[in-house]
Amino acid sequence: MSAVQVTGASKIFNQGTPKQVDALIDVNLTVEPGEFVSLIGPSGCGKSTLLRLIANLLEPTTGSVMVNGKSASQSRLDQDYGMAFQQAGLFDWRTVAKNIELPLELKGWDKEKRAARAQEMLELVKLPEFAELYPWQLSGGMQQRIAIARALAAHPPLLLMDEPFGALDEMTREYMQGELLRICAETSTTVVFVTHSIPEAVYLSNRVVVMSPRPGRITDLINVNLGAKRTEDTRAATDFFTGITAVREALRGTHADHANAGAVRGVEDR
């Protein structure tokens, strides 16, 4: 059974109006359990839309989305996945521990069980002494680690992340990438990860899904051969640069389309 199975999915906004946007056209994607898959592409390629179809925050216009062998909507109701966004999205009026407990509260867990799990998650993200602080007392990187702890609090088999490290500085970002890989390995979580960064996609992923805009679609699937265990040395490895080059070339293909489109528009303007 696949962790995620997207079959012939399209998402069209404002269908039949002048403002119609073909956000995604005929997307097919399978993610196996334990896999780390990144979605990469320029703005408007539909990578965030695809993630929201998997999360059932959006319904596909056509096609089907299955998560853990169930429909995406059933998976959402069963809280089969955790989600993290570019903004940590922590609640300022809740302590760090209470933020992590939120999904458990909504599942109706009792108080002791919630507190124990929150502490366990804080240890997983290496911030055990921060339970009683408020989010605004933490740095951006720490806030994002708490957001990951919250996303994984109910031990979901799948983690969906929308540019979670996009707002962090480069140093923190690399540290967080290492931490994310460690956490996912320890919890054997499947990840679908949206990013703008080529090195980030290559460093983290087993597979990189390259997407292209107008209309949003998948143009390439690139396997990354960096092995299961990735360390800081991986960032200097030849295979790492091979992977980066492969993704960059796949993205260039989409950029060539851009240049053409721009040229055509230039002609029209005259």
Partner: protein
């Protein structure tokens, strides 16, 4: 350490205030200004303590009107903002009206309200105060309930949270600082509205009407003594609203405002 910094913060405005009063006193004495033109602070304080019982009585009348109106207006404002955030069409109907009413000096309405009740009734003034407070609270709290971070709403939807759970765990906590901001604006405004409402007839027992009647009788120092009472009442309302806010924010509620985001 903490005590000295507090003294350092309080001392300069205190010295300035005392110096201002001395200058005022000096100008009145030095230029031999007539009491009907400008009363000296010493005369005002003298009148204040001489008439303390009456000033207190007038203050409690205006203060009660302001307080009753403030509480009623806040309750109705909060209730209405919940209804507005639940039913969008209500918002489209009421919000432009609320903004328009906020922009015009609606406390002149008290003249009309006075016609509806007996001449000695305090109800028109209290209704007037609640109306003014109601719109301040409504606009602010409705904003707090609706303008929540989209990430928070998406997150709650990803947890399959019901609309009620989103209201309870996201919208209401988000609106709490907005409520206290509204109270901080509404508290002094409620006092001002209570005074001004007294200018449009009814019993002559509050601070507003006492100030006008003393001025009409050229008892300038006494009028100033009532003004002093009015200032103290307004300050008390404002101070209480600030204390309430800091009590509620102990726990990070108002942290949004001092957040570095």
């Amino acid at each position: 350490m903490k005590a000295t910094s507090r003294i350092r913060r309080i001392l300069p405005p205190l010295v300035f205030g005392v110096a201002f009063l001395l200058l005022w006193e000096g100008v009145v004495k030095g230029f031999n200004l007539k009491p009907y033109f400008l009363a000296a602070p010493s005369k005002i304080f003298e009148q204040f303590f001489k008439n303390f019982a009456r000033i207190w009585e007038a203050t409690s009348v205006s203060g009660t009107n302001a307080l009753v109106g403030l509480i009623a207006g806040t309750l109705f404002g909060v209730a209405m903002s919940f209804a507005l955030s639940r039913y969008r069409f209500l918002g489209e109907l009421v919000t432009p009206l609320a903004i328009a009413l906020n922009a015009i000096p609606i406390f002149v309405l008290v003249a009309v309200l006075n016609n509806m009740y007996s001449i000695t009734s305090e109800i028109p003034r209290r209704i007037m105060v609640s109306l003014v407070v109601y719109f301040i609270v409504l606009v602010n709290v409705a904003k707090g309930l609706t303008q929540v971070q989209s990430t928070h709403v998406e997150l709650m939807k990803s947890y399959a949270a019901s609309d009620f759970a989103i209201l309870r765990k996201v919208r209401v906590p988000n609106a709490v600082p907005y409520l206290f901001t509204a109270l901080k604006i509404a508290a002094p405004v409620s006092v001002i509205t209570a005074f001004v409402s007294e200018y449009f007839g009814g019993s002559q027992n509050g601070l507003g009407s006492r100030i006008t009647s003393n001025i009409a009788n050229s008892k300038n120092a006494a009028a100033w003594a009532y003004v002093l009472g009015a200032c103290l009442l307004g300050l008390t309302f404002y101070a209480v609203s600030i204390v309430l806010e800091s009590a509620a924010s102990r726990g990070g509620v108002a942290s949004k405002t001092n957040n570095n985001k």
